[in-house]
Subunit: 200 residues, 2 copies
Amino acid sequence: MDEPIPGYAFGSKEIPRAEVTPEELAALQLSAGLNPEDREALRRAGDILAGQTHQIVQHWRAGIIASLPHLARHSRSLDDQPLPEYLQRSNRRFEQWIIDTCRRPYDQDWLNYQIEIARRHTSAKKNQTDGVQSTSFVPFRDIIGFVAVMNQTVKPYLGRTGASAEDVERMHQAWCKSLQLQVALWAKLYSDPAAASGQW
Amino acid sequence: MDEPIPGYAFGSKEIPRAEVTPEELAALQLSAGLNPEDREALRRAGDILAGQTHQIVQHWRAGIIASLPHLARHSRSLDDQPLPEYLQRSNRRFEQWIIDTCRRPYDQDWLNYQIEIARRHTSAKKNQTDGVQSTSFVPFRDIIGFVAVMNQTVKPYLGRTGASAEDVERMHQAWCKSLQLQVALWAKLYSDPAAASGQW
């Protein structure tokens, strides 16, 4: 059995029910153009990415974020020292998020956990899961922005196991739609003054 | 001389200065990975898209949005009747936005107008420019979501004038980064209670 992922609580009763209705989720999938063929393409992407999640998250965190102080600070102490255990724990969850993006049905549990992940990036709950003292809030703007980097950099990983260029393109489109859907859901939490206090 | 675009006020003194600092904009470009090569690629994209903006906006508005009532309503009256002049005026501005995305320097005027466009989608100013009675607010989630559709559907237009597949990919990456940067800037306005009233 795999080692449990620290703080990963998908499907747990401790995760509050998302204040997003199934109708809102359905409409939002239409807005993002995410259709059943995309879900199928994401499942294929999951088979390709499953063995590469560690490498991908290292690419994002150590290869890119670490060199951008305004992003890196969110995994460091308030006096800008490394918090290696915090980084490692959140990296493990980041890796699992890639899998969940590809393989989980986008049902109520998934919706609840989307909002929980967002909550863990805001004043509502950042640092609590890991018991650390780091920044209390990740600006929504930087999350929205960084999605462009994640989308661009994930594409070569989709092509590493011999999928056709056409299928890589198809899987990548589905990935991009899913990330846009997820960021859109995070807007729910980031529009809540208790979580964001008018920060952006 | 081209006919002026109704309500298009880029660079005008009537546009308030954006409450976003140049430092915030610079950091956000790093978050989105938008670099000088991307700006160059966007200029090439502008040369390709400039003659196709009408077709692209028709693709988005008539081809996709019109069939999604939860999106189409934002260009219709409150009792769900067409407002053809409103649609036409905003389509013209939508077309110009494609050009501005590709060709304008991302300077203070551009920043101010980004926030102005966002303002025109929120309770702060929707409908005012065109003197119509339509919905008062476009949810941020639907804008974030629909960016995925715009990104996917713009790509074939980038390939229509003989650019190499590699350069189409390069221009498309730059386009996606720019849109993510722009949506991230809109988060500034959407986090303002006066504009969004906690709506998402």
